[in-house]
Amino acid sequence: MDRVDLPALALHFALLSLMAIGGVSAILPDMQRYVVEVNHWISGKQFADAYAFGQAAPGPNMMFVTLLGWQLAGWAGAIAATLAIVGPPILLTLGVTRLNARNPDTPLGRAIRGGLGPIAIGLTLSSGWILARSSDHDWPAGALTLLTVALMLRTRLNPVWLILAGAIAGMTGII
């Protein structure tokens, strides 16, 4: 694995952070593309593992970037990656809040939301697809992914139970 260019990583993540409408799901594929495929800093499996753990652990899912940063460059990586992902959105939200947007429903605001919403949905679906491609190497794993989708759409089950089930399925060799 090559040496990690932390400033470049931080810049890239900071730029991506402003596209993360609805959360990190939308920008996941490009984070993966950047650290795994373009720069070969970590393996696809390490990336997927970090994300899986972030989902399982308490706290916001976005915090998986801390683990990702750690894998890339220890404390410096963890801090840089986290700040890059949360910084710009915080500033934007603060700005919007500070300006006391009494009327967020301007025609321009509606157009931006109406335009970007479908794109964000496409990005999120891409994320899921790419995660599935890198995780599901055989049909039982694929079936588990589909089962998860079905249960999440049909029930109000807490996702953590599914993650636990996944861990057990993996350990017992079903996956």
Partner: protein, 192 residues
């Protein structure tokens, strides 16, 4: 049609019960580490049900705005709620409370992963968890798509984004940069 009000009145609230930065830090720390699987239910439980800092309506409206702004929903909410009660310091305290615990937890996980990550059992467990995580993200995307209008244009942009990033693996910034102006212009024209 009357103009909608902002989710919460963001002018710092002088009549509010004294909710200071420390209170915000502690409250958000608590809800971040409360449970597995998702912060939002705990946020609701803590902020609305237990402490009564927000009404149900305020919570929902703040969440809606948080979802529209880039970045994680709960993070945006922390900033907005923190600012409301204690200005910039409040926003900082709330957000720091939200991420401090998880940050350290992730570091601990990283250390554990370095030591135990190569063990076959751990690898297998993580493989199973990854398959589930993929399903969770797909489900999120599908739930989001329920909100798409029955018009071909939004669906087209969804499909283009999905193709560009998901299938062709083009850089996200390029795909969004190319699609966004058209999507926004189209949405703008549709308003008339």
């Amino acid at each position: 049609m009357p103009l909608p009000q902002p989710p919460i009145d963001n002018t710092p609230d002088t009549d509010a019960p004294n909710i200071g930065p420390l209170d915000l830090f502690l409250a958000f720390s608590q809800l971040a580490m409360s449970g597995f699987g998702g912060v939002l239910p705990w946020a609701h439980r803590t902020l609305v049900e237990k402490k009564g800092w927000l009404t149900q309506r305020e919570f929902v409206d703040t969440l809606a705005l948080g979802q529209l702004l880039p970045g994680p929903n709960i993070g945006n909410m922390a900033v907005m709620i923190g600012y409301r009660f204690a200005g910039y310091t409040g926003a900082a305290a709330a957000f720091t409370g939200l991420v401090a615990g998880p940050f350290l937890l992730m570091i601990a996980a990283g250390l554990a992963y370095q030591t135990y990550g190569a063990l076959p059992l751990v690898q297998q467990a993580l493989s199973g968890m990854s398959a589930v995580a993929a399903g969770l993200v797909l489900a999120t995307g599908l739930k989001m798509s329920r909100s798409l209008k029955r018009h071909w244009r939004p669906w087209l942009f969804t499909a283009l984004a999905l193709t560009g990033v998901g299938a062709l693996r083009w850089p996200l910034l390029a795909v969004v940069g190319a699609l966004a102006p058209f999507a926004i212009a189209a949405a703008w024209r549709e308003q008339d």
